[in-house]
Structures are given as C-alpha cells and as structure tokens.
C-alpha cells in the first residue's frame, strides 16, 4: 500500500504541490485529474524520487507499506524503482533508449533487479506480450521504439514496466500522446495488467474520459492542491468543487450526461 501524506513539493522557491494526501490500496486504480501545471505529474515524480535537481519535497511522507520513501538512500530507492513501483510515461518512444531494441530494454529492467539470462528474459517477454495479445511478440521484442506505432510502443512500455511484477504502476498521461482509437487499447492493456498481477495503478491525466474509464477513486488537483477526492461516482457524477464542475463541463460531447462522456474515451 502506498500512502502519500501531506506532501509539499517546490521547484526552487516555487511551491508546485501543497499538502497533498491520498492512499493507493492494493488492486485499486486511482486517477488524478487536473490541467497541465496543476502539479499532478510532480506528485508521481516525487513518489519515485525522480524530481530534477531543482525540485525538492519540503514536507510530508510517502509511505510504501509503512516505510517512508523520502528517508531512503538513493541506492535503496533504486531497488524500489521498477521493482516495487514502476512507471510509464507520456511518450513511450522517447522513454525507451532509442538505440536499443525493445527486448533489450525489457532484459535490462529485469537484470538490474535480479539475475536473469538474456534467454530467460526473452521467454518472459514473449509470454507477457502474448498474454497482452500484442500480435507478434518476437517481432516487437526485436524492434526499435521508433519502429513501433505509438500505441504499440506504449503497450510494450507497459509490459516493460510490469517486467518485475511491481505492486504499483504509476502512469503519467499514458494516453495523451496517442490517437483516440489506440487510447482504448492502452487503457485495456493497463487494466489487464492490474487483473493479471493484482497491481494497483495511479494514473495522472488531464483527460477525464480516461480517468472515468479506469479509476476507482478520483482526485482533482488544481494549482498544487487536491481540491476534491472521492470515489469515481462521487467526484464525476456529483462534484462538489466548482473547479471539478468546470472541468467536467469542459469535456466535449457530453450531451448533458457524464456516462456518455465517459464512454467517449479520448475527448479531453
């Protein structure tokens, strides 16, 4: 279980996350919505300790199964990344090494956490891709990121992130750079992973449709603060905060009802 308790994060003198708290319980999908610059991606980066050199967590705790990650050494933090908590990014083809075939990245992400031969890694990669029904697993593993379509690459990146069976998957705008038609596939891939490995997912997006489709609990962030939190039904169907109402109103093709909008994944 991952608990974020009252964290405050600043870049230099600029406080971008203020006193944010929430919990990710096993098997749950948590969605955080908010416009760009609201601090939601910063929350994800803080959890993995991946803030750039100017960023600093000023206060609060990030507890993984009761242990505060903020107190971990960089060496210990490295063992958490990719093994206990994995992450997928907005641009899959940029988040993988451009001169490495996908299979090599897959092998690397296992190898840095436990001993494994290339062969074994290839077998596991193939199995995982087969389970995800991604077409020709061998071809995907031997392809370079630029050779795959955006959707295919993101699904491969999700498979790489799940290579070590982490309990928690962080997803930073995983569908925002993709075509509407493939967004659905990526969402399905993530949901399949959750089912297969009973992982919990923390997804951050400005796309309410994606959140509505996936999340059990929803948080709404604005200017670094969590302005609303609750179950998906509470937040999306009977929002209390004006900002949440405005966000939901901004989803196009609503037809006055959210369920319709929720089905229209990708309009955001």
């Amino acid at each position: 279980m991952l608990e974020v308790k009252n964290i405050t994060v600043a870049y230099g003198s600029d406080t971008v996350v203020k006193d944010v708290s929430f919990a990710v319980k096993p098997g749950e999908v948590i969605g955080i919505v908010g416009e760009s610059g609201s601090g939601k991606s910063t929350v994800l980066k803080s959890i993995l300790g991946l803030l750039d050199s100017r960023g600093k967590v000023l206060g609060g705790e990030i507890l993984l199964n009761g242990e505060n990650l903020l107190g971990f050494t960089s060496g210990r933090m490295r063992q958490i990344r990719g093994k206990e908590i994995a992450m997928v990014f907005q641009h899959p083809e940029l988040s993988l090494d451009p001169v490495w075939p996908v299979g090599r990245s897959f092998y690397e992400s296992i190898r840095v956490h436990r001993e494994i031969t290339k062969k074994e890694a290839a077998v596991q990669g193939r199995k995982l891709l087969e389970a995800l029904e991604l077409g020709e697993p061998d071809k995907i593993l031997s392809s370079y990121p630029f050779e795959l379509s955006g959707g295919m690459c993101q699904r491969a990146a999700i498979a790489i992130a799940m290579a070590n069976r982490p309990g928690i998957l962080l997803a930073d705008e995983p569908t925002s750079a993709l075509d509407v038609t493939v967004q659905k596939q990526v969402i399905e891939t993530m949901m399949q992973m959750r089912k297969e490995f009973s992982a919990s997912i923390l997804i951050v997006s400005h796309n309410i449709g994606v959140i509505a489709k996936m999340a059990d609990f929803v948080g709404v962030m604005r200017r670094g603060q969590m302005v609303e939190w609750g179950t998906k039904e509470e937040v999306l169907y009977s929002p209390e905060h004006d900002y949440t109402k405005a966000l939901i109103r901004a989803v196009p093709k609503m037809g006055g009802e959210l369920p319709a909008a929720a089905e229209e994944v990708g309009h955001g």
Binding site: G82, F89, L94, D97, P101, S109, V112
Partner: protein, 308 residues
C-alpha cells in the same frame, strides 16, 4: 545498402572533379609564371625566347580544359607530374609526407578522445560543481591560446629548459610526442566542451528518466545509454577533425619541423610549386570525401534509424 553506396560513390566522383577543377583554375589564374620559376631555379637568365620555349615544353600554352584533362588522366595512372622546386615526382613527395601526417593525426586524435571523453562526461555528470567549473576555466584558456603559442611554450619548457626532447623533432616516437601533445591539448579544450554539451543534452532526454524509473543504476545509465547515444554526434565531430588534420597541421608541423603534409604544402605554396600544390589539393579532396564516407557508413552502424 548497394543503392546507398552507388549514390555515395557517384557523388564522390562528381565532387572530386569539381574540387580539383576549381583548384586547377585557381593556380592557372595566379599571376606568377611557373616557366620563369623553373628557369630561375636552373640559374638560366629568362629571356623572352627561352620563356616561350619553356612554356611550350611544360605544356602551358595549351587550352585550360585540355591541360586539366591531361592532368586528370595522368593522375589516374599515378603520375602527378614533377615538382618544379626540386624535380622529384609529386607522388613520391606526397608519399613521404603522408605517413608523417597520418601518424601525427592518429596519435593526437587518440589522445584527444582519451582526454576529452572522460573529462566531458564528468563535467556533465557533475554540472556546475567545482570540477566542472575548474575544467571549464582551463579549457577556455587552452581554446583561446593559438596552437603556435602553446607550441613555443612547450619548446621552451621541454626542449630548451628541461632538455627532454630535441628542438627539431626526429621521426619516430620521441619526435611525435610534443607536436601530438600540442595538437591534442588545443583540440581537447574544444572537445571537452563539445562532449559536455552532448552528454548534457542526452542526460536531459526522456529515456534517461525512463531508465531511472526502471531502477537502472546511474553508472550504467551513463555508460550503456548516454555514451552509446552520444557516439553519433561525437563521430561527426571526429570526422570533421580527422579530415582537417590529415591535410596536415601546418602551424604545428612547421614549429616542430615535423616533415608532414602541412609543411610540404607550405613550402610548395611559398615556391609557387604548382604540381605539388595540385597534388596536395587532390589529397585534401580525397581525404575529405573518404572521411565523410566513413562517417556516413558509421552512422549506419551506430544509429538504427539509418540502418533500417
């Protein structure tokens, strides 16, 4: 790949003809008279009649294109004419200077890479730290010093004061150290800054954050990801430098009396020794084309986007 090679080769031939023809024209347009130089060398006073006769003998009275065609044809057979200055075949003059310059180039370039890659990477890794600031200061200093100045300082220090090396460089390992060091130091100053920028650029890319998120240790990120990706821009730099250096590093070769191409070219230009100048230009053109060709080929090897 065959199509790529065929197109490249076709381009090479065209560019080669263009460069050599242009340089042929330039020497043709130059005001000094080769026939006169030749006569002066032999000590014969150049009368009008004798000049005309010599011009005829040297083929200087024929049309430009014919002369260029002849020269090109002879060159294909390995005959670049004879030096006006000392009557030796141009090819043998070039052959004598070439290994000297090639050795100097390879030794200095190896030193440049050995110095600049670790320093550049460390500067980028510890950006704005004391190491980075100190190295940047020193590289700034060396980059702004002209190479002949550094060469003179070295001569004074290591040859005159300490007597470690002779003032006039002998051939071989003992002679190559000082000129190579001067070349390597001035070039490294520039390379360290370039490598630093390239590595910083790579470090800011998203796949680095991706690798960190997968738990890859920093050391591995630097060596197996960043350096691997930095190979492409670094190769381009090395290609440009190699092409330039293989043409002879005139100043350093002259200061250290290193009998390479730079010195040969310098002497040929001073003496208006057209066949040698022409031969030198051909070599320069060839080396530029060849190095660029090799760099292009290496892209195919380094960058999967080019390969596929």
């Amino acid at each position: 790949m065959i199509k790529f090679l065929a197109r490249k080769t076709g381009m090479l031939i065209l560019i080669f003809i263009g460069i050599t023809f242009l340089s042929f024209c330039l020497t043709y347009l130059s005001p000094s008279n080769p026939a006169e130089i030749k006569l002066n060398k032999t000590g014969v006073p150049p009368t009008e009649e004798l000049l005309e006769q010599t011009r005829e003998e040297m083929g200087l009275n024929r049309p430009l294109l014919v002369r260029y065609g002849d020269w090109l044809f002879d060159m294909m057979k390995g005959d670049m004419g004879t030096s006006i200055r000392n009557g030796k075949p141009v090819v043998s003059e070039l052959k004598k200077a070439l290994p000297q310059t090639a050795a100097l180039t390879l030794v200095s370039m190896a030193a440049v890479l050995l110095i600049s890659i670790p320093f550049g990477v460390l500067c980028a890794r510890f950006k704005d730290g004391p190491f980075d600031i100190a190295v940047r200061f020193v590289t700034y200093l060396f980059a702004s010093l002209p190479s002949f100045f550094l060469a003179l300082v070295f001569l004074y220090l290591f040859s005159v004061k300490l007597g470690w090396f002779p003032v006039i460089a002998p051939k071989g390992i003992r002679g190559i150290i000082m000129p190579a060091l001067v070349l390597a130091l001035t070039l490294s100053a520039w390379y360290i800054r370039q490598v630093r920028t390239i590595v910083l650029d790579e470090l800011s890319k998203e796949y680095i954050a991706g690798s960190r998120a997968r738990g890859v240790p920093e050391r591995e990120i630097l060596f197996s990801h960043v350096l691997r990706n930095a190979m492409l821009p670094i190769t381009t730099l090395v290609g440009v430098s190699l092409a330039g250096m293989l043409g002879g590093t005139t100043i350093v070769e002259n200061v250290f009396s290193w009998p390479g191409l730079g010195q040969l070219a310098m002497e040929a230009i001073t003496a208006r020794d057209y066949p040698v100048i022409q031969g030198y230009v051909v070599w320069m053109a060839l080396i530029f084309l060849l190095v660029n060709f090799l760099v292009d080929l290496s892209y195919g090897w380094i960058d999967p986007k080019v390969r596929r």
